[in-house]
Structure formats: C-alpha cells, structure tokens
C-alpha cells in the first residue's frame, strides 16, 4: 500500500493544507485561508492552471485529506461518514427520553398513550368545532325584517315572515267584521314578530306570492286571492285564512314546527 507521501509528489505546492475554504466549481479559491501549520504557502495559486480535480493532501498523515475541489463533482469538507455528528436534539425531547443512559422502552407506553390522548382529544374538539361552525352557517334564522322565507315542510311550502313593527300594528288594528274568516292576529301568532303559515291557498291550493297583493301580505296569482300580513283572506275567491301549523319557540332563535 503506497503511503500518502509518495502519491502526493505532483501536488507538493499544496502539501501544507489543513483547513480550507471550499469554492464552488467555477469560482477560484481565494488564497489567504486559515492555516494550522507554521509554514505558510498558498493553498491554491489561482494563477496556475486549474485542473479538473485536485486533492489537497497533507504532508504528514496528521493533516490528511481535508478538502476536495473539482469542476465536475461536488465540493465537500467531510472526510468520512463517521465524521457526521448527529445533532443534539435535547431541546426537543420529552423529559423521559432526555437521558441517553436509560432505555427508551421503559417510557414507551406512557409516551404512546400521551400522544394518542392528545391526538384523540384534538380530534374530538375539532369535530365539535366544525359541527358548530357548519350548523351556524347552514341553519341560521337570519331572516331580515320584512322578508319572507319559504321552507319545504312535510311536502308543503312553509312561509316564515319577519314582520316589521308597522305590519304588526296594522294587523292588530284590523276590524274583525271586515274579514271573511274572522280571526284576530294574536290568535294566529305566538310571537307577533314572526308569522308562520302554510303557503297553500285555501281556494284551490296554489302557492301565494309573498310581499304581494293589495294588503301587504300574500297574493295568489291563480285566481287573485289577496291575503294580509297575518295570512288572512281579504279579497278574492279563497274562503279561509292561510293555515297556521302547530309550532313552538324553545328559545328566541329557534322554532320547531309540527
């Protein structure tokens, strides 16, 4: 086995290299690098022709191969894989595995249990949060004042109208003697702000149009029945008021019909 000293004959100018900066493949090395030996000689003379691949051997075996610089391959400062130091991850370790002299098997079960507990709880909380958000967006009773919303309820249209103060007041003042089917407004609603009626015309079963007609309520286009804001028949062929289904308000934001 040839010794390093004899093989490095051609590279005697570079023999004193110990530590060197590494250049990229096409950038020349700047002379003036950190040297550990007493004799200073320039590591790489940039005026000399730059060979394809150069190895910087040390003269004594103590310095050895520190750097490889080449145009064609990568530049590296690592000599062998055993020089790779695995970093110290103590800052990120759980306390049970901080001590390198303790087997990690002992704490294995507790660490596993903790991880799965956190994962499981986060999943449960996350699902609940998602459900809340979704329900908030999907089933919000956000009907603006004066507007009517139609829902399909047991196969029939259900009108839910958010009445304005004016409408409430005017409906309450209607003279019952004028009505074909006399009913006071307060007998038809539980909460005067909300009128909930089944949107089927009592004449021949068409669906009236909301916020239409001469009385500020509903208008059935089939035969011209006019209903008021309380769903009572005022003009036209229909004989009865719009049907009020059974409903209840469990709280102010929710109504259950049926």
């Amino acid at each position: 086995m040839m010794s390093l000293a004899t093989r490095s004959g051609a590279f005697s100018p570079y023999l004193q290299a110990t530590n060197s900066a590494v250049a990229g493949p096409l950038k020349p090395l700047i002379p003036g690098v950190i040297m550990k030996t007493d004799k200073l000689s320039s590591v790489l003379d940039t005026k000399k022709p730059f060979l394809c691949r150069e190895y910087l051997y040390g003269q004594s075996a103590k310095s050895g191969h520190a750097v490889s610089v080449s145009l064609s391959a990568r530049s590296s400062v690592r000599f062998v894989h055993t020089d790779i130091k695995i970093p110290d991850f103590s800052d990120y370790r759980r306390p049970e595995v901080l001590d390198p002299k303790k087997s990690s098997q002992d704490s294995g079960n507790t660490r596993w249990a903790f991880s799965y507990l956190i994962t499981g709880s986060t999943a449960v909380v996350g699902v609940n949060a998602a459900k809340t958000v979704v329900t908030q967006f999907v089933s919000s009773m956000n009907i603006p004042e004066g507007k009517n919303m139609t829902f399909k309820w047991r196969g029939k249209p259900l009108f839910v109208q958010h009445r304005t103060e004016k409408e409430i007041a005017s409906e309450a003042d209607v003279n019952l003697a004028e009505l074909r089917d006399p009913q006071h407004d307060r007998d038809r609603v539980q909460n005067p702000t909300w009128i909930i009626v089944i949107g089927v015309c009592t004449h021949l079963g068409c669906v009236p149009i909301a916020n239409a007609g001469d009385y500020g309520g509903y208008y059935c286009p089939c035969h011209g029945s006019h209903y008021d804001a309380s769903g009572r028949i005022r003009k036209g062929p229909a004989p009865l008021n719009l049907e009020v289904p059974y409903y209840e308000f469990p709280d102010n934001d929710m109504v259950i019909v049926g």
Partner: protein, 478 residues
C-alpha cells in the same frame, strides 16, 4: 444422560476414525451423509475451564488436523467515549506490528513459517484476535496470541505510519455503501449513546490518537474476566488449559481505581438520516426498530420472523416462485436489487430491520412492501410461513458451523453473550417451540406502531417523509 450420550458418540466416532473406518462414523452404515437429528447430537460438548484470574478457556474438540484459536475480548466501540472513539480499531491495526519479544518481521516469519493465518476484527461489543493453524502448532499459536494481546510494542513510528493507513481505510470504506448506510443507521438510532459510535471512529480521532490513548485502552479493557480463549478443531482441552495457564495467568483482573466499566443501557431514538447524492446509481436504505438483546427470550421468535422475510438478490433465479413473499414481489415488480432482513443484537438491545438497495424510482414502492411485510408478521403470519422459516433457520444454524473458524467464533460469542455455549440441540428445541401466535405477539411487541430509525444513502428523493413511514407501522384495518 443426554450429555453422556454425546460424549460417548463423540468417543466412538473418534475411535472409528482413528481405526481408519470413517464410513462407520455414521450410525446408518452404507450412507455417508448424516441426518439432521444426528448433526444436532454429533457435535462434541464444548468444554469450559476458568482460570483463577477469571480468564475462560473453551474448546470443542473434533478430529481434525487444523484448528482455530481465537481470543475474544468483551470490548468494542461501545466502551469508547467520544474522545477515544476509534481506539479499538487503531489498536487492531497496531496488533500485528510486532511485540516485545517478536518484532514485526519476526512475528510475520513465525506465523508464516507455520502456514498459519493471523487476523483480527473489532465490532461494537467484541474484539477478537484469532489464528488458523495446524493442530500441532497450537503451543506456538497460543504464545503468539498471548504476546499480541499483552505485550504489543506499539512503537511511535509504527503508530504514525499506521495513521495514514487508517485514514486510507476510512476513505475506502466510503465505497462500501452498505457499511456506510448501516453505520449511519446505528449513529441515528442510538444517537447520543456509545452504541451510536462507529467502530472506525471519526477521522479527527485517527489523526490525534496517541500511544498513551492506546495503552490506556488496553489497560481499561483487556482484563481477564472479559477474555475468552476459544478453540475448535483437533485440540485437546487439557493441553490448551496448560498453555493458557502458562501464557495468560498474568493477565490482570483488577481495574485502576476499581473503575470497572459498566455498560449502561443505550437509548433508542426513532429518527432518520438522509445522505442524498443524486450522482450515485443506487439508493441504499435501512429501516429498523429497536430489537431484543442477545440474552432476551425473544431472540428466537425474531430470528424466525426474519427468516420469513428472508433475503433476496436480483441474481436469485427463483423469480415468482421464491418462498419469501417480499422476495416474490421484489422479483415480479422489480422492486429492488437486493434486500435482507437483519437483527443486530447487542447485550441489552438490538436493531431489527430491513436493508435494501434499489433504483431511485422504486424506493417508495419497496419501502411500502417492506413495511407491509412487517405488518404481515404482526397480524396475519400463517402456519406454513412459520414452518418454512423454522426449517430454513435450523438449516442455516447448522450449516453455518462448517469449519473450525465459524465454530471458534460461535464459541467465543456465546461465552461472552450467554456465559455458556448453547448447543445446537437447544437452539433446535427453542426454534421448534415457536408458533405463529408467538411470532405475531413478539413482532407486535417490537414492530407494531413503533417509531423506526431510517438511514438512507444515495439518490433518495423518492424516500417518503418520516411521518408517512411512521404511519405505515400500523394498519387501520386491523
């Protein structure tokens, strides 16, 4: 009674052989081969003697003209610190550079004139110096081994010269990517612990280790209770004991300041290390979980489990008829160039894993199927898989011991790990006791839902993210 039967059969065999009737050695006359059952019982018992200083001598006497004499020492890179990591390896290089009585040329002459082979190896927990020689040269062999270990000259000039040799060897090892990959696997799996040290040691240490470091290493670790002189071949045990008394009685058994080095457990960390280099043609990847120590009862089920996965090389001719399922897939889907299931066990821990070499576009598939094989072991391994693996394992255990050197190594290893030589019949019984349920339970204990350590070298862009490999360590379907 069984042991006496062994000795009798051994004696009968020897008598028959000496009388010149080798064919009569087999109990079934007319057949020259030996059945499996006979091979279990045919080996003579290993005889063990301990000297007063704790030095152990073990030998298996078979009727041969040659023998292997080995000195196994319970020390290795696991006993080294960051500062002197690589001292054992360096010392191994210095071992044959001459002793106080035999300078290098005299040592070489002595060995070569006998026609003997003298060599050594260092591993993480064991160092061994062994000599393969003719049985009649046993006294000289023991003398030389004793000198090499106890009175190596360790001259400064030789040390300086060996430095460059060690550095050159370190550089050459970079070409053996299997060694690099498995070294990195240990470094990351046992990070921060002595088992993470490579046997070779860092190049910085190779440059600054001094004679004092080597002498200190010898004084701390080359102690009689940690040494075993193992011999296999045509060697008489009593003769060997006499020689050992003559040469090894002087080995010290006391430590300076009573500082007995005690091995503390080594923490395993599920982690990964990626050494990417797209210029390399093939990727070398190893994935491992923490395995069982040598003395653990789970060793045999894990060996059976590894036999189920087996090994494969692209040169295997079996193709889709290979017995291991992973090997069949590797052949049919062209998944890899080679793979092997391994279990490196140390005294109290181990690494149970699969190492494979593959093309850069097949890494993800190969990793998927390798972990699938592990899951199969933990969940659905069948009676036929286990039966086949048990047979393969038994055959390989018996077949490995085909020469004095493997037997000598076996003796040394067993004595250092278990304190006694475990006979083949006992291994056979322990293997026979393994059932699919035991394989499933043991594998689940070590593999299922555990964090693996992964090391990868080469063009490894396709290697999945660690979290995905971690997720493949359990099945949601199960």
């Amino acid at each position: 009674m069984v042991s006496s039967m062994w000795r009798i059969s051994g004696a009968v065999n020897r008598a028959l052989a000496r009388a010149g009737y080798p064919l009569l050695l087999s109990l079934r006359r007319g057949q020259a081969s030996v059945s499996y059952a006979q091979s279990l019982l045919g080996a003579p018992e290993t005889q063990l003697t301990t000297l007063s200083n704790g030095f152990r001598i073990a030998s298996e006497e078979t009727n041969q003209a040659t023998c292997t004499v080995g000195l196994c020492i319970d020390c290795g890179s696991r006993y080294e610190s960051e500062k002197n990591n690589g001292a054992g390896f360096f010392l191994e290089h210095m071992a044959f550079k001459g002793t106080k009585k035999h300078p290098q040329s005299a040592l070489e002459h002595a060995v070569e004139s006998m026609g003997a082979h003298l060599s050594a190896y260092t591993s993480r927990e064991r160092t061994a110096y062994y000599m393969k020689t003719l049985a009649k040269d046993l006294p000289k062999a023991v003398e030389l081994l004793a000198e090499v270990v106890q009175s190596s000259s360790l001259s400064e000039a030789d040390i300086e010269q060996q430095r460059s040799v060690v550095l050159r060897e370190l550089e050459e090892v970079q070409g053996s990517l299997q060694d690099v990959c498995l070294d990195l696997l240990h470094a990351t799996a046992f990070q921060g612990t002595p088992l993470g040290h490579s046997v070779l040691g860092p190049s910085a240490n190779a440059r600054i280790l001094t004679r004092n470091d080597l002498v200190e290493y010898i004084n701390s670790h080359y102690k009689a209770p940690r040494m075993v002189l193992a011999t296999a071949g045509g060697v008489n045990h009593d003769e060997l004991v006499a020689l050992a008394k003559q040469h090894f009685s002087g080995v010290s058994f006391e430590y300076e300041g009573d500082a007995v080095p005690v091995l503390s457990p080594c923490r395993f960390t599920g982690s990964e290390i990626r050494m990417r280099d797209d210029a390399m043609p093939l990727a070398h990847i190893a994935i491992a979980v923490e395995g069982a120590g040598a003395a653990s009862p789970d060793i045999v089920p894990l060996m059976v489990a590894n036999s189920i996965i087996g090994c494969y090389d692209i040169t295997f001719g079996g193709g889709k008829h290979l017995s291991s399922r992973l090997a069949r897939l590797a052949a049919e889907l062209n998944l890899c160039h080679s793979f092997q299931a391994f279990h490196s066990s140390y005294s109290d821990t181990g690494l149970l894993g699969i190492y494979f070499v593959t093309d850069k576009h097949k890494i993800e598939d190969m990793m998927h199927w390798a972990q699938n094989a592990w899951m199969n072991l933990c969940t659905t391994v069948t009676e036929s898989d286990v039966a086949r693996a048990k047979n393969a394992l038994k055959a390989s255990l018996v077949g490995q011991l085909n020469g004095t050197t493997p037997v000598c190594d076996d003796i040394g290893r067993h004595l250092l790990n278990y304190g006694r030589r475990i006979p083949l019949a006992e291994w056979d019984a322990r293997i026979e006791a393994v059932t699919p349920r035991i394989v499933r339970d043991v594998c689940s204990k070590y593999i299922y839902d555990k964090c693996p350590a992964v090391s990868a070298v080469g063009p490894i862009e396709q290697l999945p993210d660690y979290n995905r490999m971690r997720s493949a360590m359990y099945w949601l379907r199960f």
